[in-house]
């Protein structure tokens, strides 16, 4: 048994506990947005795809941290990208919130939430079953969101890489730790996605409107944090 193996379990459990706290803060708005804009029949599959994308990105980042043997080199390399992803996520949540509330003001392009607008048609296409792969791509991209606990596991990945005997082992050790962490976060985010996607909840107009307002606020918050990051 290598010295890294007990860490897999440690970071799996860390992912589980962090999932119900920190991850709800960062990934939660996106998960809720996806749920509120998806048909219930596709919900679980789409959330699995989204989370699979996220975990794949985590794995790649962990592998890179392990190979480099340095967290700070990796972090400085992806800083601009993470800033962009944070702003992108904010814009996405903001647009979803505005679309849900029927408040998009830009006339023919965005429409006012009606089904004839370009944005609404794109949104409907995005929500269609055949575009489920978009959720995987979204997960791959949003796996880059800056997140304290993710950084913490990347530090451990870099350390595991430093003690590895080969570059391949360093990559695999780092990747393994990040994948374990990512898998640990799944229960919280899947549960949240399922709860937010409950049919009776979406059918409640008042709740839907309140959710839209909250999503707009969260989107703006993300954009501001992204600009300041």
């Amino acid at each position: 048994m290598s010295s890294t193996e007990p860490l897999y379990l440690l970071f799996l459990v860390t992912g589980f506990t962090v999932g119900f706290g920190h991850c709800i803060g960062m990934c939660g708005p996106i998960v809720v947005s996806l749920s509120l804009n998806s048909k219930e029949s596709h919900l679980v599959f789409r959330h699995l795809l989204y989370n699979a994308g996220r975990v794949i990105t985590y794995g790649i980042l962990g592998g890179l941290a392990g190979t480099l043997g340095s967290f700070t080199i990796l972090a400085s390399s992806i800083l601009s990208l993470q800033k962009g992803v944070l702003i992108f996520a904010g814009i996405l949540i903001l647009l979803m919130g505005l679309a849900m509330g029927g408040w998009l003001p830009f006339g023919n392009f965005f429409g006012s939430g009606g089904s004839s607008s370009v944005f609404s048609k794109w949104f409907q296409r995005f929500s269609a079953a055949k575009s489920s792969v978009c959720f995987l791509l979204l997960g791959l991209l949003l796996g880059l969101l800056p997140c304290g606990p993710v950084y913490t596991v990347l530090i451990a990945s870099a350390r595991a890489g430093m003690s590895a005997e080969s570059a391949l082992q360093a990559f695999l050790s780092g990747m393994g730790l990040m994948v374990a962490f990512g898998v640990g976060t799944l229960p919280a985010l899947l549960l949240m996605g399922k709860l937010a996607g409950l049919g009776w909840l979406k059918s409640r107009q008042v709740i839907y409107r309140i959710s839209s307002v909250l999503m707009v606020l969260v989107g703006v918050y993300f954009i501001i944090q992204g600009i300041r990051y």
């Binding site: 440690l10 970071f11 860390t14 506990t17 962090v18 119900f20 706290g21 920190h22 709800i24 803060g25 960062m26 939660g28 708005p29 809720v32 340095s70 967290f71 700070t72 972090a75 400085s76 944070l86 969101l145 800056p146 997140c147 304290g148 606990p149 950084y151 913490t152 596991v153 530090i155 451990a156 962490f181 949240m192 709860l195 937010a196 409950l198 049919g199 009776w200 909840l201 059918s203 409640r204 709740i207 309140i210 959710s211 909250l214 606020l217 969260v218 918050y221 944090q225 300041r228 990051y229």
Partner: protein, 153 residues
Amino acid sequence: MLKSCTIKGRCLGFLLLIYLFCGMMAGNPWKAIAGGPSSENSVNCDMQQGPCTKHLGDMIVTLDILPKPVMAMKDLTFTLTVSGKNLSSEPLMDLGMPGMNMGPNRVELKRVKEDVFEGQGVIVRCPSGKRTWKATVTFPQTGKVEFVFDVIY
């Protein structure tokens, strides 16, 4: 589905949704509900100016972090000086944010002199913008001291 849900269930679900959104804004739903400052969150060191000293029984524990200024996302050297007691083993140092689970981030301390221990670590950046961090130093069978300080992003 709608018919099968009770009024109580609907209210519970709605409250859960609000709770989750509060959590999103605060970065931690439990904290969003609990809220409020606590002594645990209070800064008790100015690590940017120099070393910080705490007492634990008869022990005097001094922590310094270099280089200055102490910045997040940089490789840092943590130096711990312990006087008043001869330690047979290395103390343990864990980094975290007060009131927030950031995952296990342990600095592996090694003895460099009789009463001096040193280790490398990184304080990560929280996208929420919160800058207060905590270094918890545990002395097995004796107790622990906490150094709470601000870092620069």
